[in-house]
Amino acid sequence: MNAPLPAAATRSAPDRERRQAEVVAALGRVLPAHALLWRREETVPYECDGLTAYREQPLAVALPESERQVADVLATCHRLEVPVVARGAGTGLSGGALPDPLGVTLSLAKFNRIVAIDPKARTATVQSGVRNLAISEAAAPHRLFYAPDPSSQIACTIGGNVAENSGGVHCLKYGLTLHNVLKVRGFTAAGEAVTFGGDALDSPGLDLLAAVVGSEGMLAVIFEVTVRLLPMPETARCILASFADVRHAGNAVAAIIAAGIIPAGLEMMDKRMTAAVESFVHAGYDLDAAAILLCESDGTAAAVEHESQRMADVLAACGATRIEASENEAQRLRFWSGRKNAFPASGRISPDYMCMDSTIPRKRLADMLTAIAAMETTHRLRCVNVFHAGDGNLHPLILFDANDADELHRAEAFGAEILELSVAMGGTVTGEHGVGVEKLSSMCVQFSAAERAQMEAIKRAFDPDGRLNPGKVIPTLVRCAEYGRMHVKRGLLAFPELPRF
């Protein structure tokens, strides 16, 4: 949404060609010919990730097939002072894997081997190119599963999940990627092998694993990941509740938490989103409701019976106009099918959509929805809303037509306004999709110059020459000055005197 500044160092075409020839020749000495792509027609599939609005051609794409080759590619790039952009399945939504025009894209997609499943320790050790869902599939014979389940789980890789600290619909109860990863084995920018975390529950020294998870490929290259597995719940039930007013739905979310219940999933869709997904999946949603909530309970049969009854009582007390509990697994999956297909369904009702990802305190959900409705008028665009209501993570989808330059511009302004309001409400510009290039300008709003400088210093501590995924996550001072929005303090106690937005 915030267009990246043009690469400052883009060289003239002949310079770039000479540089490309040099890099390709050097990589050709450490990779087999079929594992090195550099002709334009070969590199086009790598020009963007899931955020297709931004595209760049890298100098080359390296597709190593052994751990040794990964180290060699990194060492070569280090020697030639070439930026490296690591890439998994390319499903990221913030441009984190956008190529550097003078860099090498390092694809880890070929590393798709499940190294070990240890049922007694309840861990899986997998290479970074293993798909998220493949871990749970491999663990299923042991009645175990890997909990974080981003909606793209059939395609996205665990390496990408670690890079982005991915969430999903079950994080309130089961945590984010960070909470489910024990160990990451990989390489420094110079190609030196390094291990963060370990097979125990903690490691000596600083918790560098916490820094690497969610670092968007800027601190290290991930080669192998050990994740924690959980016993599969015996059963699960989903309750679908309708509300005549979004404020009632927002209050119901708070009331469930206040009742001491941590649902396995707690999702909200507004009326327009519900209509869009219903025509796509025919799940039987209530089309008259202003908002619907999906509340899931999992555990043993008796525990689910008990908890879902308590949830239903709370929802009824909060004014739910219709409550329906799944009676079997097929019905439960049907309830979820709409929510899981929110993005493709939006693609059917609009030529383009822009997906926001901010998080706000749960209690502000209704305020945010009201504000978004007002923004629809200001920006003359429609917006449909799905929320991970349980953890306050919003996914407003702003509908627009990218062929209309003015609509694109208005959509960007709309999105920026949502992000700024989220920060002012005490939230954050990104809950699970990452900053990448998309939200660079919004980082100027959320963090002060000193905080951004501290992040840059952390980057240099891991990657002294700034070689890994340069230009992502941390905006430059110049960029923030040009963006011209002030840094919004996030309402922590240290500054009670500051006016709130």
Binding site: E164, L201, I257, P361, L492
Partner: protein, 361 residues
């Protein structure tokens, strides 16, 4: 001047003078890590009530607030810190809890301190007041600095305020006791761990395995029947888990005697839960379903560290009379290099708790 501004000023002055500062909250963990040095910088003036929002599952507390007070404030709304941080006395502060990064009996099931930290305000080594993370559960804007600070023993910054994820207290719990050898205890725990049971905490010592289940009434009734054993009365169970959490139970009392009288060291071994028994001489208490093993022994440090490393873990000299062997296991060279650069990134003059985590850091 408010307490935060005063800390900023003290750090700036120390930075200008290149004078080391020894950061201290309640002082209940002075024994932990390497020996503290430098001019005292106290955080206890950073006090006041926590900002607790029960329906957000979030609390924001000043670093100098006493942990027991924070927990009382949460308990009034039926909530808690799920990771049960140890309280080595009533003076333990919230900032100290985060800086030390120690978690209690429920850690294997409920997660660690780090898993529950959502945001920090801190003063860096050049005296900048910085805020990272926030007060929301999902947040991936920038590097996760608030979680790097957990367990950093003050070498990166002075923590002035912390936001934590809090959880509702479990609806029900049950504790059961078993007579068994350590190896059998581990085998039972690992078998239970593979089933969807509400297994929470466990402790094996001296031929006794004590297991706590936590969850909904229904899950506890089913779970207690599934694991069997001898039921422990609620009051006894509560007293036991509290004494284990705060290191006041007989194992830790005996360990302290061994330290005082026999030059022993109390080691904290953090191992893969499924690691075999190491067979080291000394008195051993096993927590976290096998992943945390306390060992009071006079064995040489090198032997204990080597045994832990062989099975993929590490050993911390938790309490001892001498720090000669180093409090924490040494770091692999690439990690040590990153540690050194990170330290300089936050504290270029090396004035914050120098040497408290590792000599030279």
């Amino acid at each position: 001047m408010d307490a935060v501004a005063s800390i900023v000023e003290q750090v700036r002055a120390a930075h200008a003078a290149g004078e080391p500062l020894r950061i201290r909250g309640g002082g209940s963990k002075d024994f932990y890590g390497e020996t503290p040095t430098g001019t005292l910088l106290e955080t206890t003036a950073l006090c006041g009530n926590a900002d607790h929002e029960p329906t957000e599952l979030v609390v924001t507390a000043p670093a100098g607030m006493r942990l027991v007070e924070l927990e009382a404030q949460l308990a009034a709304h039926g909530q808690c810190l799920a990771f049960e941080p140890p309280r080595f006395g009533s003076s333990t502060t919230v900032g100290g809890m985060v800086a030390a990064g120690l978690s209690g009996p429920s850690r294997a099931a409920a997660g660690s301190v780090r898993d529950h930290v959502l945001g920090v305000s801190m003063v860096s080594g050049i005296g900048e007041l910085l805020q990272f993370g926030g007060r929301v559960i999902k947040n991936v804007a920038g590097y996760d600095v608030s979680r790097i600070v957990v367990g950093s023993l003050g070498i990166l910054g002075v923590i002035v305020e912390v936001s934590l994820k809090v959880m509702p207290r479990a609806e029900a719990e049950a504790t059961a006791r078993f007579d068994c050898k350590a190896a059998d205890a581990l085998a039972m725990l690992h078998a239970w761990g593979q089933r969807p049971l509400p297994l929470d905490a466990s402790a094996w010592w001296n031929g006794n395995l004590i297991v706590r289940l936590r969850g909904s009434e229904a899950a506890i009734a089913e779970g207690a029947a599934a694991i069997g054993g001898e039921a422990v009365a609620a009051a006894d169970a509560s007293a036991f888990w509290q004494s284990l959490r705060d290191h006041t139970d007989p194992f830790f009392a005996a360990a302290q005697e061994a330290i005082d009288d026999h030059e022993a060291t109390l080691w904290r071994l953090s191992l893969p839960a499924t690691a075999p028994l190491l067979g080291l001489a000394g008195d051993e208490l096993i927590e976290w379903h096998g992943a945390e093993r306390w060992l009071a022994t006079a064995l040489p440090a090198a032997d204990v560290r080597a045994a832990a490393a062989t099975v993929g873990g590490h050993a911390t000299a938790f309490r001892s009379r001498t720090k000669a062997a180093g409090a924490f296991a040494p770091l692999a060279p690439p990690l040590r290099a990153i540690h050194e650069r990170l330290k300089r990134a936050f504290d270029p003059k090396g004035i914050l708790n120098p040497g408290r985590l590792y000599p030279g850091l």
